[in-house]
């Protein structure tokens, strides 16, 4: 067996040289001081491969045009098994890559690994940092939700203000008039076609340079015998890669990446924010006004890149032990504090995400329910029916699983049962439900429609919408208005009201309908602020 394998290996090696090349790569000599502090480059390369892998998988089910992009991503997230995990890997992988690249650079900086003859290795590394950021910038648009759209509007406007090159840059980005199909195609082309092979080539060149000059030694290494790269250092790299992978995987499984509403250029209430690693640039723009604006948008970023590129030519001293590089450590500390402060300030001035935002990466079947059914979900939750009547609940098996089997009783039977459970089913341990007759009707109406397929709405319907529907139902709005095809047409149907009115208008209209719509026969409703807020949010969430 081994003999046969060796013969095949040596046949292949004779003709391709693969084995020799791999051996040469693995048994490279590295300085005695090499160790755990040098694992970050390998981790970054690994994360790049994970991005390529997850990106290709996403592309298999993704349509790169504005309208379809959103729908196909939603399809990946809500209908394909594993789709959410793969998008999670790609999303969090991007953030981790930025972190690891930064740590890798800080390590190289503190150890003075850029010193002669390794200046070009450092410069190519700065190029890789910029490529990583370009990936983040272009990928941000591709979900084509509100976040993506508005973030890119700001980016393209900034680049349009660059002196001399601005108009050409914005033309290159297809954003001369507005962010639209052309910009989208350019960003997709960059993100999926140009940047990946380019980055792979630059990584190859970077690794080639590392190999050409050897891993940077520490002072005192000359006297020590050299080590082999394999397996000692490969083991350390592997452990670090595995640790990074576990963190990434846990993030992808646990931390939901939301999908917002589809890009809406007419939305005036949206508060755009860039991805966290660009927040410091975003914050900096607030400090520069008028003609000084260019300082924040172009001059300082360009200066920062120039400083990074010039480091090896400014610091040309001998290698120094890391612990003695007090100046270098100080520079890193100041940079981190500056970056962290700006980022923290940006986060502090960002309003908390609204509780009424809908996560479109989750099923949104509840949007199709009638107000009565949605209010029924509210009573189902409020009376805590969930704890005995759904599979997977904490007291599973105590009551029948209403979602799994469906309800086969009449509404009248259910209502009697709600009021006096044991009278209808002798020995029932269910406590009586203390709701008004109207509310019991609502609950029964919902249960009649409940089945295994729509049961997810029980969990996914957001609290604000359920509250809004309960207010809608208890005030009998359906006697005049129609929602999702249910109700009367005496007043206007309420689907699509978000396009016709502002939130403020609707809120004031409740208080004094005739003040805003002379001749309206709608009575005034004096809701509590909380009720009004949730009702308006619910109505504005309705689909057209």
């Amino acid at each position: 067996m081994t003999g046969a394998r060796q013969r095949i290996a040596s046949w292949l090696d004779h003709r391709t040289g693969i084995e020799t090349a791999v051996r040469k790569f693995l048994y490279e000599e590295i300085p005695a001081s090499s160790g755990w502090h040098q694992v970050f480059g390998s981790v970054a390369a690994f994360l790049f491969l994970v991005q390529a892998f997850s990106g290709i998988l996403l592309a298999f089910n993704y349509a790169p045009t504005p309208g379809d992009a959103y729908n196909s991503l939603r399809y990946i997230l809500t209908e394909l098994a594993g789709g959410r995990l793969i998008r999670g890997l790609h999303h969090w992988g991007a953030s981790m890559l930025i972190v690891v690249v930064a740590v890798h650079m800080i390590q190289a900086f503190l150890y003075g690994a850029y010193k002669k003859p390794r200046e070009t290795t450092w410069i190519v590394g700065v190029g890789l940092l910029l490529l990583t950021l370009a990936f983040g910038l272009t990928g941000y648009l591709l979900p084509w939700d509100n976040r993506a759209y508005w973030g890119t509007v700001v980016t393209t406007q900034i680049s349009a203000k660059v002196p001399f090159a601005g108009s050409y840059l914005s033309r290159l980005m297809g954003g001369e008039s507005a962010v639209g199909v052309v910009t989208f195609a350019r960003f997709f082309g960059l993100h999926a076609l140009l940047l990946p092979p380019l980055t792979a080539l630059v990584i190859a060149f970077h690794v080639y340079l590392v190999r050409k000059h050897g891993v940077a030694p520490a002072p005192g290494d000359e006297l020590q015998p050299k080590k082999k790269f394999y397996p000692g250092q490969v083991y350390k790299d592997t452990v670090a890669i595995f640790a990074a992978f576990v963190i990434l995987y846990v993030l992808a499984v646990v931390a939901r990446v939301p999908l917002e509403r589809p890009a809406d250029p007419t939305d005036t209430s949206y508060i755009p924010r860039p991805e966290w690693y660009f927040l410091f640039l975003f914050q900096m723009l607030k400090f520069f006004e008028g003609p000084l604006e260019l300082v924040g948008t172009a001059l300082l970023p360009a200066l920062a890149v120039a400083v990074l590129l010039l480091i090896p030519f400014v610091d040309r001293g001998r290698m120094v032990v890391v612990g003695q590089r007090t100046f270098g450590i100080g520079v890193v500390a100041v940079a981190l504090v500056g970056w962290g402060g700006l980022t923290a300030a940006a986060i502090a001035t960002t309003p908390a995400p609204s509780v009424t935002a809908i996560d479109y990466s989750a099923p949104t079947g509840w949007l199709q329910l009638s107000p009565e059914e949605l209010a029924g979900i509210g009573y189902f939750r409020r009376e805590n029916c969930v704890s005995c009547h759904l599979s997977g609940s904490k007291k599973e098996g105590i009551g029948p699983d209403l979602a799994g089997t469906g309800v086969h009783k009449s509404a009248a039977w259910m209502i009697e049962h709600f009021k006096r459970p044991a009278d209808i089913i002798p020995g029932s341990a269910m406590p009586p439900i203390q709701l008004s007759t109207d509310q019991l009707n609502t609950l029964a109406a919902f249960l009649l429609k409940l089945n295994a397929k729509n049961a997810e709405a029980l969990y996914s319907a957001p609290a604000f919408a359920v509250d809004g529907a309960m207010t809608y139902q208890s005030n009998n709005c359906g006697a005049c208005h129609m929602v999702n095809g249910v109700g009367m047409r005496i007043g206007p149907p309420l689907n699509g009201i978000a396009r016709r009115r502002t939130r403020d208008w609707v809120a004031r209209h409740f208080e004094a309908p005739q003040g805003l719509t002379p001749g309206s026969i709608m009575p005034a409703y004096h809701f509590s602020p909380h009720e009004r807020e949730n009702l308006v949010s619910y109505l504005f969430a309705l689909t057209d």
Partner: protein
């Protein structure tokens, strides 16, 4: 003595390193490959109940004479629902059973047609022929014609999803 002990320690460390390298990379590979396969191979969740559409008038059918009916049908295509023109070959069999055949030959999916002179459905690609009840008469077709779920209400023909025919040739 000491040199030998050190050599043994070195070799066992090497074995540990190697097994860690192979083990951890194996875990990473499996953790990436498994969801990728699930993602690519599992069918998407069904978004819509199969719908029944009206294909045409069943009252005018003559026994044993197939008619081509063209109707519009919604089909879920990935992330889209498209409305498309669809064809069925509809025939009233003896016993008044109305049957609607899917428009594709069961061999390789070409569109076949009814040849009145031969009293057979004939496929233009590889000369498969089917009798009026859909069974294979000759040619390479592996199984009888596929049928839509069908029912007649007030002499309107309603068609449901196309059921792949799992029968054998005859």
């Amino acid at each position: 003595m000491e040199a030998a002990a050190e050599k043994r320690a070195k070799s066992s460390r090497r074995t540990f390193h190697l097994s860690a390298i192979y083990g951890l990379w194996g875990l990473i590979g499996a953790a990436l490959a498994a969801p990728a396969l699930v993602y690519l191979l599992f069918p998407p969740k069904a978004r819509k109940e199969p719908e029944w559409v009206e294909a045409g008038d069943a009252g005018s059918l003559e026994p044993n004479i197939p008619v081509e009916m063209v109707f519009r049908k919604n089909r879920v295509d990935g992330w889209k629902v498209i409305s498309e023109k669809t064809t069925a070959w509809v025939v009233k069999l003896p016993g008044n059973e109305v049957v609607a055949f899917g428009p594709q030959c069961t061999h390789l999916g070409c569109a076949y047609h009814w040849d009145g002179s031969r009293n057979q459905f004939v496929c233009p690609c590889h000369s498969s022929a089917f009798s009026v009840d859909g069974s294979v008469v000759s040619g390479p077709a592996p199984r009888p014609l596929d049928r839509y779920q069908a029912r007649v209400e007030n002499s309107k023909l309603l068609l449901g999803p196309l059921q792949p025919n799992t029968g054998t040739r005859s």
